[in-house]
């Protein structure tokens, strides 16, 4: 065995109890860091996944992001307009079929038309505001997970009745409606129709399940009081992470406001960033505290081994070699601590995953956990770096000790 490693290992073995505590400190830090990362990232990934599955990746609406520029303002910098009333346009996307065909020619995914209307759902003295989305069931499977989220009946049940409607299971629960119930839909435009509940769906995102209902496009158009109107194109991409770029391109090409799922949930996603910063800060603090244990044990060993250091230096071991011995000791503590921490982290994650729990935001019985090797790698690396850093200062001090002072003191 290499001399440095041999001496370091001997020192560590000779201080089993103290080394054990230092290793336990590092292992606890690594273990809890892994568990925390698994929990935080797991819940975040799960939430994003549900969100991505439940919503279209891009929603192209019939709105414009900015009011149109006046011709005079385009020509003259000095032109200013006050009190202009925005032009009243006919609602809906112009020539939606042609637009869909144009988009489908280049974008990696699928497009489906829909009519989105805000309505009040009335049933048994319950009035609940909801978004009613008119869809084409045959196209829906290309742009959303709705067909898979149906409970009981399939999405094709929308064809089985006049003014058929599919409700989110929580919305149905809220108003007390079941499959077969006849409910009333009323819009601010004054449209009022009776509809039959033909199915329920469950996306897993409470906000959606409580506020969204689906009908056929035709029913949506009746509610909007505009025959043939399509006011939303719902885009599903093969890679949801490209949504932002593709939405920008759609918007620049069509002029219609195109909102990616990231933009639609910007506030939520920004809270994830803050959450991650908090997570890394806490994990860093845990590992920093663990490194104090390493500092303590290396300081103790260097103090106890002052005479040995003097002997080794008098025999001809260089400062570098002596320093290396104690840095390697810190490395051993960090390495063993990290390995034990990996096992602890995995077991803690498994244990946490087994706990049955009700999440108020996501309908799930168990905590979602991410088992990512990257978490182990990062926690291990931070543990090693912090251990070596903690060991370096006392190692450097020990290596610089003047052997004569120690030898004189010892004699």
């Amino acid at each position: 065995m290499n001399l440095v490693l041999d001496i370091a290992w001997t020192h560590v073995r000779a201080h089993v109890r103290q080394t054990g505590f230092a290793v336990a400190g590092v292992a606890t830090g690594v273990g809890f860091s892994i568990m925390m990362a698994a929990l935080m990232v797991g819940s975040q990934d799960d939430f994003v996944q549900r969100m991505v599955d439940s919503l279209p990746h891009i929603t192209v609406s019939d709105e414009r992001r900015n009011p149109p520029t006046q011709p005079a303002a385009a020509m003259f910098d000095a032109a200013e307009f006050h009190g202009l009333t925005p032009e009243a346009r006919r609602r809906g996307v112009k020539n939606p079929l042609a637009l869909m065909a144009a988009l489908e020619a280049w974008l990696p995914g699928a497009v489906a038309p829909s009519v989105k209307v805000q309505a009040i759902i009335r049933y048994a003295n319950h009035d609940v505001a909801a978004s009613v989305i008119g869809i084409e069931p045959r196209r829906e499977s290309k742009v959303s997970e709705l067909p898979k989220q149906m409970r009981g009946a399939g999405l094709n049940a929308l064809y089985r009745a006049t003014n058929a409607i599919v409700l989110g299971d929580r919305l149905a629960e809220k108003i007390g409606a079941r499959i077969g119930a006849n409910i009333t839909l009323q819009t601010s435009e004054g449209a009022k129709i009776n509809a039959q509940v033909v199915g329920l769906y469950h996306s897993g995102v409470r906000q959606i399940d409580e506020t969204t209902a689906y009908t056929l496009t035709k029913t949506g158009q009746i509610l909007a009081r505009q025959t043939g109107m399509i006011n939303e194109l719902r885009v599903h991409l093969n890679n949801p992470l490209k949504s932002r770029e593709i939405a920008a391109r759609i918007e620049s090409e069509t002029g219609y406001k195109s909102v990616s799922w990231q933009e639609a949930n910007e506030d939520l996603l920004s809270t994830f960033i803050i959450r991650n910063i908090i997570m890394y800060a806490v994990v860093g603090a845990i590992l920093l505290v663990a490194s104090f244990g390493t500092y303590n044990i290396i300081s103790t060993i260097t103090h106890e081994k002052a005479r040995d250091i003097a002997i080794m230096k008098s025999l001809g071991l260089s400062e570098h070699t002596v320093r290396s011995i104690f840095v390697v000791e810190a490395l051993i503590i960090g390495l063993v601590g990290a390995l034990v921490g990996f096992v602890l982290g995995y077991l803690l994650s498994r244990g946490l995953g087994a706990v049955r729990i009700t999440n108020p935001f996501i309908d799930s019985n168990h905590l979602p956990l991410a088992y990512d090797p990257l978490h182990y790698l990062l926690a291990g690396l931070v543990a090693l770096v912090s251990s070596v850093s903690a060991g370096y200062a006392p190692a450097r001090k020990a290596a610089r000790e003047h052997p004569v002072a120690i030898i004189r003191g010892a004699t």
Partner: protein, 246 residues
Amino acid sequence: MSLAPAHQPRAAASAGAQPLIEARNVTRILPGIVPTVLVHDINLSIGDNEFVAITGPSGSGKSSLLYLLGLLDLPTTGEVLLRGRDTVHMDEQEHAFLRLTFLGFVFQFHFLLSEFTILDNVMLPMRALGRLSPAAMGERGRDLLASLGLQDHMHKRPDQISGGQRQRVAVARALANEPPVILADEPTGSLDSKSSEQVFELLRELVSQRHKTVVAVTHDLAMASRMDREIVLMDGSIEKVVDAQR
């Protein structure tokens, strides 16, 4: 700077060869509010195959001089030369290398690493130098210990053998890399008279049979008188040098 002539060895002086160890106007002052002069203006020269004693009362600077000659300490002024090479301007790595290859130390207390076996302790300088294969190191370590009568104790730890045996192990360790110089600081200071005599004879054999140069600090004047040369220190300076034909 002193003009006092260096105390030269007979052999080196007569042959005009490069001295093994040479101190030129060496002074060591410990800094502090009241600076302490450890040794002052030391000039001496030690040649090959000499058995030299450094004596003097407590606090006269014997050990300080030995540490300066052994590159464990640096002079405040003056030069220490090993085989004619100035060591004062060398860096820490070079000093460490010279201690590893050119100098062997034996201290008053054995200073063995308590967690390692006797054989491991002897092999330590060889492993630090790394010139031999592990097998060759082991063989050399065993040979050294056997030559000092310690063949039955190789795998024991230092606390399992007697004080005299420990000091012999320290001698074996000092010889591990075959350095030409052995520096001993009160090597018999903590031993009983019988063990002291054994260690002294061992050091003598290093000179007579292994052709080493041994420089030993001692309080034992009777022992010093049996060496080739005795350098007597007083208050950090050389008071006199007495050679074997006294």
